[in-house]
Symmetry: C2
Subunit: 214 residues, 2 copies
C-alpha cells in the first residue's frame, strides 16, 4: 500500500478554472499547500489529456505533490503520473492495478456503502467517498450521502478516505470529524477568487481538524 | 512491423448493430470472412469497454481474427487485445507503441496528406486512410478525400492501407485499385440485413480486386 496525504485533494475542472487555465490554478494550489491533484477532464481527447497530464506532472514534481489521473490508466502511464483514480464505471481495480503496477497510487470512488463490497479493496490505496453533498461539477453524480453516510462508510474501512462532493472551508472540519483524512474539492479552489489563498485556508482547517481529532 | 490482413476490416457500432447486438454482428462477420475487427464505442464507459473487448477477443480468437481497440490503449491492454487504432487526436504513436510493446498491432488514421508527416510511421503497422466518402457513422469526421485522395496518399507510403469512410460492396474494388489493401466498413456490415452474407460478398470483391491488381 502506498502512503498518501489526502488533506487537500484538488480535482481539476477546465470550465471552472476559466481564463486563468487549469495549469495556473494547479500551480496556485501547489503553492497554497494542496497535497494531491487529480486531472479530470472527461470531455478531452486522449492526446490533449496526455499533454495536460505531462504539464501538470512537471508543475507538481518540484512540490512533491502526486498527480493522479481520473479514469484513464493509459494517460497516467504515458505521462508517468503518480497514480490513477477510478470510479465504479471505470476500470475494475484488479485491471487498473495490474496495469499500473504496485508503486503507483490507486484510488477508488465509493458512492454508497455497498460499493465497499464490489471491489478488491486490498489493491486500493485510498477511497474517494461521496458525494457528501450535492455538487454541480459532476453531471452523473450519485445521490448525496450526507455526513452521516460518510461516517458510516468510514467506520467500515481502514483505508484512508478523502471526502468529495460539495466540500469547502465551511464544512471541511465536519468531514474530518466524520472520519475523512482530507477533502477533495473542485470549485472551492478552481472557482475561488484566489486559489492559493483558498487552498491555504482549507489546508489549515484540515490540519486543525485532524489535530483536534487525534 | 506486424503483418496484418486488412481485406475486410469491420469497425463496430453499437447503434447500427441494433437489437441483434455488437457481439452477434461480430460473430457473423467472423464467419463471413472478416479479417480484422475494431471495437469502437467512444461513448461507452471504461468498464463497459473492457467487458466488451474481452467478449469480442474471446469470440474472435477461434477465428484467428485480430481484435483492435479504438483509441483506448488501457482497454486494449486490460483485455489483452491484439492491437490499438489511434486517430490524430488520440495518443501519439510513440506513446501508444511504448505502452503496447512491439508485438501488438498499431494502426493510425490519416485524414489528409499532411498527416503522413505528423507521426513516426516507422512505429505503425498499417494506416486507416479516409474518409474516402462522407459517412454518417463518425460525427467529427474530416472532409472526404475521394478516391483521388486515397490514391495520392497510397502513392506516398509503403505501409498497408485500409480505406475507410462510405465504403461498401459497390465501391470496394475501386478502393483496392486506388492502392488500399482492404476496406474498413461500419454500416455495410453492421446495418446489413445479413451481416455474414454482406461480409462474404465484400471479402470476395476485395479478393478479386487484389488478384486483378497483382
Amino acid at each position: 500500500m502506498n502512503a498518501v496525504d489526502l488533506s487537500v485533494y484538488l480535482v481539476t475542472d477546465r470550465g471552472l478554472s476559466g481564463v486563468r487555465g487549469v495549469r495556473d490554478v494547479v500551480l496556485a494550489a501547489a503553492r497554497g499547500g494542496a497535497t494531491m491533484v487529480q486531472l479530470r477532464d472527461p470531455e478531452a481527447k486522449t492526446r490533449t489529456l496526455v499533454v495536460e497530464a505531462r504539464a501538470l506532472a512537471g508543475l507538481l514534481r518540484p512540490h512533491r505533490i502526486p498527480l493522479i489521473v481520473n479514469d484513464r490508466v493509459d494517460v497516467a502511464l504515458a505521462a508517468d503520473a503518480d497514480g490513477v483514480h477510478v470510479g465504479q464505471s471505470d476500470m475494475d481495480v484488479r485491471d487498473a492495478r495490474a496495469l499500473i503496477g504496485p508503486d503507483r497510487i490507486l484510488g477508488l470512488s465509493i458512492t454508497e456503502e455497498t460499493d465497499l463490497d464490489r471491489s478488491d479493496l486490498t489493491l486500493v490505496d485510498y477511497l474517494g467517498v461521496g458525494p457528501v453533498f450535492a455538487t454541480p461539477t459532476k453531471v452523473d453524480a450519485a445521490p448525496p450521502m450526507g455526513m452521516a453516510g460518510l461516517k458510516r462508510i468510514a467506520a467500515r474501512t481502514g483505508l484512508p478516505i478523502v471526502a468529495i462532493g460539495g466540500l469547502h472551508a465551511g464544512n471541511a472540519a465536519d468531514a474530518i470529524a466524520a472520519g475523512a483524512a482530507g477533502v477533495s474539492v473542485v470549485s472551492a479552489i478552481c472557482a475561488a477568487p484566489d486559489p492559493e489563498l483558498a487552498t491555504r485556508e482549507l489546508a489549515e482547517i484540515v490540519r486543525a481538524a485532524r489535530a483536534g481529532r487525534a
